[in-house]
Amino acid sequence: MHADPAGVLTGAHFLDGDHAACEGALAAECRFVAGYPITPSTEVVERIAQRFPLVGGVFIQMEDELASSIAIAGAVWGGKRAMTVTSGPGFSLMMEHVGFAVMTETPCVFINVQRGGPSTGLPTLPAQADMMQARWGSHGDYEIIALSPNSPQECFDLTFKAFNLAEQYRVPVLVMMDECVGHMMERVVIPRAEELEIYPRRWTKAAPGEYLPFAPGEDLVPAMARAGQGYRFHMTGLTHNERGYPDMSVAAQARLVARLTDKIRKNADALQDVVEDGVDGADVVVVCYGITSRVALPAIEACRASGLKVGWLRLRTVWPFPERLIRDLASGLRAFVVPELNMGQIVREVERCAGAARVVGVPHAGGTVHDPAVIERAIREAVR
């Protein structure tokens, strides 16, 4: 199914990541956004507010992020593709509804334009310190998908992709931008609508009497019913059976939680989205994502110029983490270097999979990006 041309701003533009993410959502047929202003993500909803009345979308500025993050769930069950947009403090408030969307298998998108934290932190400056929160921030055990764009172009591409993944797996998908990517302007090329493939909602084909709202298909994902179509279904954040009714038994919990995690874990390879350069035959591989993946490149080039064999492995999908890939690489490597704008988050995942290879983190508290010279030093020391 091709995208609705009404929402696709085909052409070459000079946009910042926030505006590009908005266009990605529009192209993906997102037609409901609930948001609450917060720096540095506000430009996304400002553009949505301007664009939506022209393309049949509904934007509502809610009273807070708690409201925004569940209003989108309501809209999804009402038939729309929906997202919310926020940054650090707002993301913290939204955590309960990330879990709610997981539990109720509500396909939706959360954009987090990351800024320095904790607490109010550095509202106008970048960080990548919410990566573990994206993975584990809501209570309980679950899996989500998180993407990490490194340019305004990718803010468009990956926001678009996030909607498709959300529909395919019926899971909240988190687009983990950062202030630098969000506010940086670059060329953004938006394709024609017929070049944009939409993953349609998995509406049930069952008749109302026969429909079980949480009975999984072969790929562990159940088909959805839209409110108002006579299905008279129930959904709840409680542990539930295939009918959607609460079931407080150990068996129901085991079955449901296993399925919710397995539908992502068993598709981890299909979900893997990395960009490699010079990884084959490398002595050291720099594992990076988002803005840091760009900043690492001058460092890698400088090391290569002096004869070091350095690979660049950029994670576009950070969650699920590409465990198998890192394990496979580890056996032939001397070291991984993991620069990130936090005090050491994804580096822990790499350590978990690195086997005998050394793992060198390059932490940074945020507020700006790494000086490439610091990453270069870390690479040189890693293979010394």
Partner: protein, 282 residues
Amino acid sequence: MSERANPVERYLRSDRIPHIWCPGCGIGTTVNCFTRAIDESGIPMDRLAVVSGIGCTGRVAGYMHVDSFHTTHGRAIPFATGLKLAAPGMKVVVYSGDGDLFAIGGNHFIHAARRNLDMTVVCVNNLTYGMTGGQLTPTTPEEAIASTSPYGNFEQPFNLPYLAESCGAVYVARWTTYHVTHLKKAMREALLKKGFSFVEVISPCPTLYGRRNRIGDGLDEVKTYKQRSVIRNGAPTSEVSLGMTGPIVVGKFVDRERPTYQDAMDQFYARKLGDRYARASQ
């Protein structure tokens, strides 16, 4: 037997009965009134959605045989907001308790009323948190004992009709579970009212509120509410606050017209943007 089937049975999920509520609890009574109100309203069940938060009343959604959504604590209204804006053809009812709607969810209530979102909010006000064991809520009367106010409550509670009216609700009524006919009628009117309608139901919680405050069992609590009730339709909502004792003013307090959120949005954008305005498809 089939000819004389319970008239409200088709509105309920019989496969989920027995329900979880205690003997003497008033929530079931409110649900009975609600099903009859739906019946009389003529709203097709396929076009009705019930959204609940968390708590004893939060379980209502799960017993209603309609599209039903049991959401998170305090957030039934914003969920319903998204649902209504995405599916404007549906009648959306939020059915929840006093703690859920007015403590953790209070901010959402005032903003939904301010926006005049086209939805009905039913608050079963049993003056306490039932599911967690009888703690203080924003409606617990002064002096009342709760597990977190063991010496009695010294906080001033909300006067819910006054709050609803001040924030912009177009329909506001209060009844108790004794007034089943009035309650059913109020619920029907609220369902048929365009805009943000609010029905408060004072309801017994014999297990916790009634027992701790020496009111007796569920029947005793209803009797008390009956004796204390004074019907004053059109009463100024500023005069209807509740105490431990004294009158419980019940009636229809507000019935007025205001453009709904969606009508205001459509009209506004049509005026500002003309032909460029693309109305949301349903």
